[in-house]
């Protein structure tokens, strides 16, 4: 397929090649009071993500999922262990290969949807007009046609999240890191957005890590699900999801294979 984006197409697609590698990663936050022990958010995390694989990180609230994602994104540094993304082991290098999408859309209220989507390109030094020209065709492809000029306040929650995702995609990085992208949406919109994202990831294949607390969402979107324990977060289970993406929500709900996987994930979570 022809892509208007800088898709990472240099290497041939191989299932064994690891894009993201974490080995013995620990992250601790200093204690609030001096005599307390530091708070361990992550402890001994080992994880690999293969090229063009979509990995879902599932875990209870406060287990360090978001911390893990920010460490990979190069927005934080690990206190122990090795983190590398496409061979870049330092935080700055990881920031260069990863595009990070936070929980909230964080769209700029003074820019229209197109201008918001173009923001990441502008940060790389592309002039505004040119960045907007490159963003425009994506609006058509990802169900946002005719909303180019709308201000964020005029968009629904789902629409805002789509714009935020386009902005992430337009960063032109080979690795996508999505932190609970649909946590703020209502159940119906979330279901719709899960299928939309599954389609978008099939259309623009990337190596992706998606943090979620929703096992069903993980099974719809991911090739593999890593289950984290409660704080300090460790990987307690890794489940391969069979069947090709994109998957429909209804299929996932009806298929006994997925039901069994959901069962195993819930057990690993201790539910």
């Amino acid at each position: 397929m022809t892509s208007s984006l800088e898709a990472p197409a240099k290497e041939p697609l191989s299932s064994s090649k690891a894009t993201i590698v974490l080995e013995g990663v620990a992250r601790r936050y200093p204690a609030r009071r001096r005599r307390d022990e530091p708070v361990a958010a992550l402890e001994g995390v080992d994880l690999e993500v293969r090229e063009r694989e979509v990995l879902a990180l599932v875990g209870p609230s406060g287990c360090g999922k978001s911390t893990l994602l920010e460490v990979v994104a190069g927005l934080q540094d690990a206190d122990e262990g090795v983190v590398s993304a496409l061979g870049a082991a330092d935080a700055q290098g990881r920031r260069r290969v990863c595009a990070y999408m936070p929980q909230r859309d964080l769209l700029l209220p003074w820019r229209d949807a197109l201008g918001n989507a173009a923001l990441a390109l502008e940060c790389r030094g592309v002039p505004r007009a040119q960045a907007c020209r490159r963003a425009a065709p994506l609006f058509e492809r990802f169900g946002l046609a005719r909303f180019e000029r709308a201000r964020p306040a005029e968009l629904s929650g789902g629409m805002r999240q789509r714009v935020a995702f386009l902005r992430t995609l337009l960063a032109g990085r080979p690795v996508l890191l999505l932190d609970e992208p649909f946590a703020a949406l209502d159940a119906i919109t979330r279901a719709e957005m899960q299928e939309w994202l599954a389609g978008a990831l099939a259309d623009e294949p990337r190596t992706a890590v998606i943090v979620t607390h929703d096992v069903r969402e993980a099974l719809i979107l991911a090739d593999r699900v890593a289950v984290l324990s409660a704080r300090p977060g460790r990987v307690v289970a890794e489940l391969d999801v069979p069947e090709a993406r994109p998957r429909r929500r209804r299929e996932v709900a009806a298929d006994p294979v997925f039901a069994a996987l959901e069962q195993r994930a819930m057990e690993a979570l201790g539910c």
Binding site: L75, P102, L106, P109, W110, A153
Partner: protein
């Protein structure tokens, strides 16, 4: 809605005028200290040329002084925002500057810079600098840390974060500061003129007091109030144009 607001403001104004007229008509009230609304209106009408030509001078002082305050305030706020040591060092001085008694330093400014417009601009700018700078610093710091993190992940430079995220976010705060500054700026100009001037509404009011032309003094004060209101409205209007995503209050 808007109509109702104007109606209510008008009614309140009428009530105040009524009370003012009633108090002024009480027996035993000295007309040298309290001019009635009617006398004030006659002074406004009869001396309109004198009043408005002097008001133009004062308005010029106020607008230029405000512009200087915004320019210096913006530079100070951005500098203090970008360089933490500068903020730590300069913030106490900034607060201290607000405690400088303008009434006392105004004559010194006039001594130093002569009778012209210079000392008035310095005094207006001195008064207006504080609300502009403090609000802008708060605005620059109001940006959500998450958003700064996102920009960093996009590889944005410090300057790009300032230009694309922090300055636009701070605009509504800047206009809040500007609205406060606009109202106090008029007082600054009057103090400047009291310390020594050959024209301006403040000087006219001072002369009016010395010459016991009380209605003219009241007329001057009314114009000064109108001027503050006008500047406030102008700041709000400017905010609607420059930052339409934020909500600005327009005066009734």
């Amino acid at each position: 809605m808007l109509r109702r607001r104007y109606l209510l403001s008008g009614l309140l104004l009428l009530a105040i005028l009524g009370i003012w007229q009633a108090v002024a008509s009480l027996p035993g009230v000295d007309h040298l200290t309290l001019a009635s609304p009617g006398e004030t209106w006659r002074a406004l009408r009869d001396d309109s040329h004198l009043l408005f030509s002097n008001a133009a001078t004062t308005l010029l002082e106020v607008v230029l002084g405000l512009a200087i305050a915004v320019g210096l305030g913006a530079a100070a706020a951005i500098g203090m925002h970008l360089f933490r040591p500068l903020r730590d060092a300069a913030y106490p001085l900034l607060i201290g500057s607000q405690a400088i008694p303008v009434v006392v330093v105004a004559p010194l400014f006039v001594l130093a810079f002569d009778y012209g417009i210079g000392p008035k601009l310095a005094i207006v700018a001195l008064i207006c600098f504080f609300p502009v700078t403090v609000n802008l610093i708060d605005g620059l710091r109001s940006v959500e840390p998450e958003l700064v993190k996102l920009m960093r992940s996009f590889g944005a430079s410090r300057l790009a974060i300032l230009r694309k995220v922090e300055l636009p976010s701070a605009l509504p705060y800047l206009f809040s500061g500007l609205r406060v500054a606009a109202t106090v700026s008029v007082i600054g100009a009057v103090f400047g003129e009291w310390a020594g001037a050959d024209r301006g509404l403040g000087r006219l009011v001072l002369l009016g007091i010395n010459q016991l032309q009380t209605p003219r003094v009241y007329a001057g004060v009314v114009i000064l109030m109108a001027m503050a209101l006008l500047l406030f409205a102008a700041a709000s209007l400017l905010q609607r144009i420059a930052a339409p995503w934020s909500r600005a209050e327009l005066p009734a």
